[in-house]
Symmetry: D2
Subunit: 305 residues, 4 copies
């Protein structure tokens, strides 16, 4: 397969071209709203370590919610199944930032990828690794082999000044006893991990441990094979806001999207994939990214179904 993978990526790039520039760039964060919408990149890293790319795969973008995959993996690596006492792993059927559902469920988020769940994970990770800086940054640097990866300070500042919705969620979690650290400290960590800026190439490399069944770039094990499998399962059922079913139906891979326009997708035992295009569809997922992944699985036998 991988012999002609570069050709497949080139085909996918051409197939995506007609929708480039479509969709709407996230506008609630000024920094994101300023991104040029006509960009698109795709990168693949195989479990053998081969790398392939097409388009704007070397351009930095804000990883946003894709960071939730890394924080979840780090919490599971650090504290096993403890996190599942505090957050469920069911698809939500509600908006990513819904308070209603959280209230109804008495402070237990439906899954770790909704904002509420990611805040609980961030709180848990903060307890495991106190200190100034999120271990997520260190992790993605190590996995991609790129020590230059950094938090975009303007994005972080911009998000902190638009964080009333997340503050509301965090205080609600705390009112139910499901946030143990100070709200501001948790939000700072959360915003920091979301504001990490990376390229498709680096992100594909950083997520490759999930294709390698939990093994890190240096050969050490972050997660057991079972744990890696389970992160993939949560990605498939809950990784796409209110379009998890649509993604499973059209693409058929575990994945996680972010409002910066990136999507990380995993083909277990084969490769990790990162696509990026800033324009979002009505569900908040990258329009070109979704199209590219659908085209990619149509040209390969990678769909898990």
């Amino acid at each position: 397969m991988t012999s002609d993978l570069q050709g497949v990526l080139d085909e996918v790039y051409e197939a995506v071209r007609p929708v480039m520039g479509g969709g709407s760039v996230a506008d609630y964060i000024p920094r994101l709203a300023a991104v040029d919408p006509d960009q698109f990149g795709i990168a693949v890293m195989t479990t053998d370590g081969e790398r392939f790319a097409a388009g704007d795969a070397a351009v930095d973008f804000s990883i946003q919610s894709i960071s939730k995959v890394f924080s979840l993996a780090l919490v599971m690596a650090g504290d096993g199944d403890e996190i599942w006492q505090r957050v469920n792993r069911e698809p939500s059927g509600a908006a990513f930032n819904s308070l209603a559902q959280l209230e109804y469920k008495r402070g237990i988020p439906r899954n770790p990828f909704m904002n509420a769940g990611a805040l609980v994970v961030a709180d848990h990770l903060l307890s495991l690794t106190p200190g100034e800086q999120s271990p997520v940054l260190e992790f993605v640097r190590a996995e991609s082999g790129n020590p230059e990866i950094s938090v975009d300070a303007l994005t972080a500042a911009s998000e902190l000044s638009h964080s009333d919705r997340n503050s509301s969620i965090a205080h609600l979690l705390r009112s139910f006893g499901n946030l143990t650290n100070n709200v501001d400290a948790v939000l700072a960590r959360y915003v920091e991990q979301c504001a990490i800026a990376m390229t498709c190439e680096d992100l594909a490399a950083a997520g490759a441990f999930l294709a390698r069944r939990g093994v890190r770039a240096d050969g050490s094990r972050l997660l057991s094979s079972n744990q890696a499998r389970r992160v993939n399962a949560v990605m498939l059922t809950s990784g796409f806001y209110d379009a998890a079913g649509e993604f499973a139906y059209r693409v058929g891979l575990p994945g996680k999207s972010g409002v910066g326009g990136g999507i990380l997708a995993i083909v277990p035992d084969v490769c990790s994939i990162c696509v990026w295009g800033p324009g979002l569809d009505g569900s908040g997922n990258s329009l070109t990214g979704m199209t590219a992944l659908a085209e990619l699985t149509a040209r390969t036998d990678w769909s898990i179904f």
Copy 2:
């Protein structure tokens, strides 16, 4: 009627005796949880200025949500109908501190007596009267003629340290653009007005302007007759958390209850009534207070229906 009103109050006191000590004292604020549950007081102030009382009518208690009546009246006095652009006046059919409904209504609280609505009113009042102290305290002192009325600092501190739910509501309001001041400043004012400690006698006097159709104790006008009528209407439809219908059905008066166990009720053109008993029923209203008011309207022609 008022000739034998003292006799009626004494009868009501006797009728309430069997349920004294019943219900549950609010326990989410330690200071409230420590109140002796076996107390009960009732006080009436007529539009002619006569005062009647029975039981523990001279014991201070925490007025809590009853303060929302005063803050609403002060906002209406200061800024006319402006507040109704920011809050509706419909009964909610949901818990007093529901976030789900607020989210669904995109940040417009259903009425000014739910916590969300009262926070919007507090925010509006803070904009109208900036500064350290809530004008509610000054107002109840002036109306009751008791300059000793004060904020119970322990209650206020206790509430501030248990304010995650209200912080969550305030941030959600702010995320919808319906809170203009700093969240902490609004919460401080809100907690301060709720922690005012007063007696039944003083509270009946402080609320008498609503029985006098808007005229204050000193003869000046706070609200127009129409405005006073309208505050009464909002009290009737929304003054009792999820038991507004029950109160209208059993008692038939505009009123507002607080989790401190107090209830302020208005008989337009006749009198204002304050009852107090710390034990709450399942809806969060004073068990003895509800009973007393039902007994009182059964013995008078005061029901408005």
Copy 3:
């Protein structure tokens, strides 16, 4: 007051003229959609038996949900407080035909004036008075002294053929064990009572027992004074779909509206009022009717607040 009441009604008629023809006629029932929107009538019947009217007060219209007042009164007359085991009396904060709330409350409707509650009342009334015809028709004929009042067969047929929403509610009630008769039989009764056609004059007369504290036109007692008071209380808190607070605020009277454009309002011990204008406002209440009642209470001392 009543000496110049005719003059007041004439003034109200003039005050309403600018909004006549406004609003939207109910369109989900073809028969209602065909009504000429430029009509408006008002009628008052005092507890002394005097009658006043202005405008199109002698034109028949479909009473629709106003019939729910009569069915509730008849059930309370026949079976005391039993009905309150099956339906609450709280305002709903949701649409009149909401299934979500009913599901959440496990089959106990919030109040007897939502469709769900009215279906439970109709079911109870059917058990009390089995047979072909609803006792509501007989009751309004007797109270108004007009034996010609009848069910509009075309309206009833039209409603039966558009009754999927009500069928859904009825089956849901039955799934919770809160409907004892056959769904079709209950719906037939319900549709029949809603399709009664009456004039403002007759409807004011038919509702006058609530102003007379439960006493019927022939001097016999239908409800105790307390029961009549309580029906009034339920009307105030729940009589206007999602605009109960608005009506209490603007008008200040117990009342019940119907999508046919009629409103029945009660001034306890004084009079009953019926207004009618087919155009509905955004909440489903008569636009001219609401305006007329607000103008009326502004010109009288009838507001209960």
Copy 4:
């Protein structure tokens, strides 16, 4: 793998033994409530046509919601993507028979496996294949090669007499214009397909077309490879009521459960699996069935993640 598959099934049977008899048998249908809870069966059919089984794999049970997989496949075979205009394919996050969500979504069910979605599919299938009998029965007979498979008349009758909830859903769908046939006709078809009684062995065979990428037992094609993949994707995200995430996490296979205690699971290109045990866990899925499938994927490389 399949060389020692019989040994694996025997191991799984032993691993399940400690929880046999646990859980609660569905009690809302008398016929289901009467089933002996101590039974457990498992059957596998490979894409090569090999068959393996252990335990009570030859005992008939009521397939209930598993039938929804067949009706969906038949509708897709008959009418391509048309059905997706009428039903979404997102996980619901709500109970399988929720009306609230359906009301909020204005009559478009979240997915074809909730009752609402399955009723829409049944309606569509009825339009495609009018007549007395559901094509589902004919299909499972043909695929399993067992012409004796039949509808359990007692179960069907029992369900029809307890169908108020489904009637409510069907009428609500119709009120939104999303049910075109008569409610009773749709319900009859729906109840009929749910009441089919089959063994694990026959059910594994009947579902094997999904492991064979759409190819029927006779070699003809029911669905395109893409369509089969997509049915599998919907099963994974929506096949387990409110435990889709749990199933993906623990088992990692597309599947569909029924309240009769059966589960059909698919390993694409490898095999179809049917497990059955009548006791249900808190989410309504077979307790022994879930355990068995988790044990099975732990012993094989069949998890798709």
